[in-house]
């Protein structure tokens, strides 16, 4: 009996020891990533210290974020995290296509093919962004993530992806919280390693406000957001600019993204005497708001204005959106863009369905260019230093479809032009609406 109990105890101890060892290893691994994420990338010139990570086992010196080593004959992996289902599917699908075309256009990186290893769904919300980003970074070979579609998903995704040392480059996140307000104040959700090729909504809000005040001559307007970082960021940027111009915000209100009955809120908007409603929200709440605005007494003359989140193929065909104004990124012009659209149509059988395909194309091209610039051959292997990749993205000046991209210290890379377009009876589809430009504002026009 006694020996048996002793044996049991020994066995138990052995198991415990194993568990502790396993846990210890896990914690150690996690530690590395968290410290790496927490440290300021600006403190290092990158690539001077010899590598300390066990993963690399190479002679190439590594920055503090570690390196990704691509074996002989293996592809360089990048991932996509876009909204590809539900009501904002066109926003994400359009960009996945842009990324796919970019990968095909870019070709190999020093003999290694580029593979789109993941095409995750950000579901245009925080949960999807968190879950998708976590799935992607679980693959240690993914160098860069192109996404997200929605700023709401971008907030957790930026944290997850950059904490793991990788870079996240978005083609359509526009909320100022993810980068900065463009006058030097860091956004609360900014993480080093986050970049975007889309405009910052500080600019879009200012452009929309300028158009409403100068061109439409309206001075008393209402704004509606749905609590999402994108819609809040844009309405507050709009309000700040509009009041600076001398206008009045009659009412600044909010709905929920799944709300169907907009009549009470519209009644309040009517009571405030609003001449225009600026509602940069998404479908389907945007459908209900525009539809019911036609019915509420006191809003007969009120102008409706949305933003890039509603500037999609499924929204502009709704009858209630006739005569609505939209702000959004300028449609690129030039032969390279026409060539891109040609490839898009040949590959997917339709014209671009949203506003951000070119931005996603540029985001992907920029990522691949930077990877290609920092990747070092080590025999048949390819070694990519993650800190050097971030530094390269900050120093790169890149000629893209959407213009010259050069990333500032908070990750805003675009020098955007904002178009104000109108959906009249004459415009049959999204391409026609986006071509019906009433005004264009550059960042410089707006004082940024």
């Amino acid at each position: 009996m006694k020996t048996k109990r002793g044996l049991k105890l020994l066995a138990l101890l052995a198991v415990l020891a194993l568990v502790v060892a396993a846990c210890g290893g896990g914690e150690g691994g996690e530690d590395t990533t968290t410290t790496a994420g927490a440290e300021e990338p600006t403190t290092t010139a990158g690539g001077e210290e010899p590598t300390t990570t066990a993963a690399s086992g190479t002679t190439v010196p590594a920055g503090e974020l570690g390196v990704i080593e691509v074996g002989a004959g293996e592809p360089v992996k990048i991932a996509s995290l876009q909204s590809i289902s539900g009501d904002t599917a066109s926003l994400g699908t359009d960009q996945v296509r842009g990324t796919e075309i970019a990968i095909a256009d870019f070709g190999d990186i020093q003999g290694h093919a580029v593979e789109l290893a993941f095409s995750e769904d950000d579901t245009c919300g925080a949960e999807g962004g968190q879950a998708g980003a976590t799935r992607i970074i679980a693959d240690p070979q993914v160098v860069a993530v192109i996404g997200t579609s929605c700023s709401g998903a971008g907030v957790p995704a930026s944290n997850v992806v950059t904490s793991a040392g990788r870079v996240l480059i978005s083609g359509s996140n526009t909320s100022p919280v993810l980068t900065s307000d463009l006058v030097g104040n860091e956004g609360p959700e900014h993480h080093p390693g986050y970049f975007r090729t889309a405009h910052n909504d500080a600019i879009q809000g200012a452009a929309a406000a300028r158009f409403v005040y100068d061109e439409l001559g309206l001075t008393n307007v209402a704004t509606v957001n749905d609590g999402d970082p994108y819609t809040q960021g844009l309405t507050s940027a709009f309000e700040a600019s509009f009041e600076e111009l001398g206008g009045t915000i009659a009412i600044s209100t909010a709905v929920t993204a799944d709300q169907t009955d907009m009549r009470p809120v519209l009644t309040e908007i009517a009571a405030a005497g609003s001449e225009l409603i600026f509602f940069p929200i998404f479908q389907p709440a945007g459908d209900f708001l525009a539809e019911q605005a036609l019915e509420v007494a006191g809003l007969e003359e009120t102008v409706l204005m949305g933003a890039d989140g509603l500037l999609s193929d499924t929204y502009v065909v709704l009858p209630q959106t006739e005569n609505m104004y939209f702000s959004g990124p300028q449609t690129p012009i030039g032969d390279t863009y026409d060539e891109f659209v040609g490839k898009y149509e040949a590959e997917y059988g339709e014209a671009p369905i949203q506003a951000f395909h070119a931005h996603a194309y540029d985001a992907t091209m920029m990522a691949l260019t930077a990877i290609s610039n920092v990747a070092q051959a080590d025999g048949d292997n390819l070694v990519i230093d993650l800190q050097a990749l971030r530094d390269e993205l900050h120093s790169l000046t890149f000629e893209g479809l959407t213009g010259t991209l050069s990333c500032d210290e908070f990750g805003d890379c675009a020098a955007p032009n904002i178009d104000i377009v109108q959906n009249t009876a004459a415009e049959a589809d999204i391409a026609a609406v986006r071509a019906n430009v009433l005004a264009t504002y550059s960042a410089a026009d707006l004082g940024f």
């Binding site: 289902s85 539900g86 009501d87 599917a89 957001n225 749905d226 609590g227 600044s252 209100t253 909010a254 709905v255 929920t256 799944d258 709300q259 169907t260 009955d261 009549r263 009470p264 809120v265 009644t267 309040e268 009517a270 009571a271 405030a272 479908q283 389907p284 459908d287 209900f288 539809e291 019915e295 509420v296 007494a297 006191g298 499924t314 709704l318 009858p319």
Partner: protein
């Protein structure tokens, strides 16, 4: 489920002793009333909304509420007979709305849609009714009948499962995108009754809901089948002994509830002309709330509960929250709706008209 809504289970509180709990409850009631009244006073005295705008809010509320009522009838009838909440009922409503969309979309391409809107509307209504009835009956057959006699919690969990199954079946069938109902031009614009301006679609919705509820009421109170439904609700064992086919009666209850949900689905499409596979969830929850608000198991209560919930939701934020200058108060309309439910239950724990149960069965 009888007409005798007045014979409610009002607790006799006159003779009871004053306990700390009852003092606390009364303090809570008085505080809640004071908050509401003061908020309303501030809001009305500010003159922010005109009289006609308040009236519009009221009408919006009643029209949404009448759809809630129609759905709530299904919850309350099933509860009255089987004593469990059929959470799949919101999905039955959604399936009806989806069918209404497809039929309306097909009709909108024909000349009938503009030439004879009333006939088209009837076709849409009937299609939605038939679909929802069929789904409700199938769900009862597959998911609930095998569980007859099982503890009450089991069909409740099953109904949640059935709800997800229907949602994702529809998602698989028609895709996740939002469908836009075609417009019905004759229903756009307004009617005027002596200075009262009401949207036509709302008139149609309120009228149709009233007709359906009246028909249901007569059906339950005046027909043999209705009588057997009431009998099963009182006591299924005795009803069976009296020669009533209990299973058949229960199927009828599901079918009638499904038909109401189908009509609600088609009407929903008139008022809120966009829907997707998830559209049944929120109205379903709201309708369940309406049923509880009115007194679950009570048909008249469900009608009243739906209308009140719609009005609370529509008027409440502007009336109470705006008075305290809470920013973006419209976003809080669901909070207002559920707070109203809590308040009503504080004052009347069994709902507005009282829970209409026979004896509590074990």
């Amino acid at each position: 489920m009888t007409q005798a809504a007045t014979v409610d289970a009002r607790p006799t509180r006159g003779a009871s002793r004053i306990t700390p709990v009852s003092i606390f409850l009364w303090a809570l009631r008085i505080a809640a009333l004071a908050v509401i009244l003061y908020g309303s006073y501030l809001s009305i005295s500010s003159g922010r909304l005109t009289g006609s705008q308040w009236r519009d809010l009221l009408v919006f509320g009643i029209s949404t509420g009448s759809v809630y009522s129609l759905i709530a009838l299904g919850y309350t009838m099933v509860y009255g007979v089987l004593r469990f909440i059929n959470f799949a009922h919101g999905e039955v409503f959604m399936v009806g709305a989806m069918m209404a969309f497809y039929v309306a979309n097909a009709l909108a391409t024909t000349s009938l849609w503009t030439a004879n809107p009333i006939v088209s509307l009837l076709v849409v209504l009937v299609a939605a009714m038939v679909t929802s009835t069929a789904v409700a009956v199938i769900v009862e057959r597959i998911a609930y009948r095998p569980l007859r006699g099982a503890p009450r919690l089991i069909p409740l969990i099953t109904s949640i499962g059935a709800s997800f199954t229907i949602q994702y079946l529809v998602r698989g069938l028609v895709g996740p995108s939002t469908k836009a109902f075609p417009r019905m031009e004759p229903l756009r614009g307004t009617f005027e009754f002596g200075g009262f301006v009401i949207l036509r679609s709302q008139v149609v919705v309120i009228f149709a809901a009233l007709v359906m509820m009246l028909m249901l009421y007569l059906f339950v109170e005046r027909t043999r089948t209705g009588k057997s439904m009431r009998a099963v609700s009182e006591d299924p064992e005795t009803a069976a002994l009296m020669g009533i086919d209990v299973d058949r009666t229960i199927v009828t209850v599901f079918a009638v509830g499904g038909a109401m949900a189908g009509v609600a689905g088609a009407l929903w499409g008139l008022v809120f002309p966009s829907l997707n596979f998830f559209s049944g969830f929120l109205p379903g929850i709201k309708a369940f709330t309406s049923a509880v608000l009115g007194g679950i198991g009570n048909i008249v209560g469900a009608m009243l509960g739906g209308a009140s919930l719609g009005v609370f939701e529509s008027v409440g934020p502007s009336l109470v929250l705006a008075g305290y200058e809470i920013p973006a108060f419209s976003q809080l309309k669901d909070v207002v709706a559920y707070s109203a439910l809590v308040l009503v239950l504080i004052f009347r724990p069994t709902g507005i008209l009282g829970e209409r149960l026979a004896q509590e069965r074990g």
